[in-house]
């Protein structure tokens, strides 16, 4: 996984400098909204290049998806039928499926940074429109939500209503300085340490020197090193994304909350890549369980939930790419959740929880489960 968006100190500093006008505008009591929307344009050019294949795909993608979104927006009031919703949802998925499958064709250079995360925001809009949560789809607000630059390439995945609330308000001066500007700068600083300090060093001094030939020892070292590397790299990216969003007045959600302190895998997903797991929770797991219970597909709620866990995690795995190791990874994480659920409902767990060593032992065990999952995710076991 590469996060090219904040990939170098240069790009982070440059982007931070472009935030200065936004700061001045907010401090003089003006809304940042329009500056933010304008700022998206040079930032996208910087990310993709003006006359690049990536930019072309991005523009075509956005135009098509917006035609679809607005088509649905106007049609849904006239045609109140579920089939329209399913067709729109399926059509909105066509680009990402085609692009992901292109790795098996001569067109494997197709794709652009952020397509997955932009798709999450678009599907969210389709579902929310279907559920009648969106009364008015304002063009500028919506395009800004979908292409909001700070979180474009890898999240955190925001929610439409939350985003709009922040977007349309002017924050009082003192509040802005303390809770947006200083907070944001602090996060960008932390991101520097995480990504260009810790993640860089782990990669440079532990992962890169490993021999090409995989031995048991090198695999174990790689497993732990990659787990820590991925955390510092992704949490570092998230610090940048969150920090810059705040300075632009958008209090986007968090992505990490000390994931390696989790006591079990259920808790892990409440601490790791939070915006993604909540998205999958709301839009896949809960809907799957709710619909299967409504239609009485499963006899017990427990079964519905466990099948839901497997389905959700499998989708999450495949979403990363059409490779065998992502499927294995998804199944592994799904199974881990099912086992965790059985464990949490057992008497052993209730007894164990009372013991002094509970915190320490469960965290150490959980970390091994996490690290093995990361090893599967890295594809290391499948590359020789």
């Amino acid at each position: 996984m590469i996060f090219s968006q904040y990939g170098s100190i240069f790009s982070v500093v440059m982007f931070s400098l472009l935030l200065i006008p936004a700061v001045i505008m907010n401090l003089s009591g003006k809304r940042i909204k329009y500056y933010g929307i304008l700022l998206n344009i040079p930032m996208l050019i910087f990310l993709f290049g003006l006359k690049s294949l990536q930019m072309l795909q991005f523009v075509v993608f956005i135009v098509c998806e917006f035609i679809l979104l607005y088509g649905f927006y106007y049609l849904r009031k006239k045609v109140k039928a579920n089939w329209l919703y399913y067709i729109v949802l399926a059509l909105s998925m066509v680009p990402i499926i085609v692009i992901k499958l292109c790795v098996y064709t001569p067109f494997n250079m197709l794709g652009f940074a952020g397509i997955s995360y932009i798709s999450f925001r678009i599907w969210q809009l389709v579902v929310e429109m279907h559920d009648e949560h969106i009364e008015e789809l304002k063009f500028l607000d919506t395009i800004y939500f979908v292409t909001f630059f700070p979180t474009l390439s890898s999240g955190p995945i925001d929610r439409y209503h939350r985003f709009l609330q922040d977007l349309n308000k002017v924050v009082p001066q003192n509040d802005y300085i303390e809770n947006y500007l200083m907070f944001g700068l602090g996060r960008i600083g932390k991101g520097m340490i995480y990504k260009f300090g810790l993640a860089f060093m782990i990669n440079q001094y532990v992962m890169t020197p490993l021999p090409e030939e995989h031995t048991i020892w090198s695999t174990i070292v790689y497993m732990y090193a990659y787990t820590l590397y991925l955390f510092f790299d992704f949490a570092g990216y998230s610090h940048f994304a969150i920090g810059t969003s705040y300075i632009l007045g958008i209090k986007v959600g968090e992505n990490f909350n000390m994931p390696f302190l989790a006591h079990n895998m259920k808790e892990f997903w409440e601490r790791w890549h939070i915006s993604l797991s909540q998205w999958f929770g709301d839009y896949i797991y809960k809907r799957f369980v709710l619909n299967t219970l409504r239609n009485k597909v499963f006899k017990s709620r427990k079964t519905a939930s466990r099948v839901g866990n497997m389905v959700t995690m499998l989708v999450m795995g495949i979403w990363h790419g059409p490779y065998l190791f992502y499927i294995v990874y998804g199944l592994y994480e799904g199974a881990a959740l099912v086992v965790t659920d059985i464990y949490l409902k057992s008497k052993t767990y209730r007894k164990f929880k009372q013991m002094k060593c509970y915190d320490f032992v469960s965290r150490v065990v959980c970390f091994q489960v996490i690290a093995f999952g990361m090893l599967l995710f890295s594809g290391y076991l499948f590359s020789f």
């Binding site: 559920d131 949560h133 797991y285 809960k286 409504r294």
Partner: protein
Amino acid sequence: MENLKELALDIMEAACETDEVREDLDLDLFEAGLIDSLAAVVVLVELEERTGIKLQPTDMEREDISTVNHFIDFLEKKVG
């Protein structure tokens, strides 16, 4: 109002599978480990079975079911 309170308690008891929910109506159910994402779905299923009101998961925020009292407020808005 009394009815809503009973309805809220019945639904929460079924969803969390414990009558502990009756003891403190301001107890944070997430912090106490009594509620999880499955329980959140069961709340919707129970509500639908008891009142016929059909909701989607995103109709209900985490905050709405974090305590029994919050859930009573939520029901008041939805059931009226």
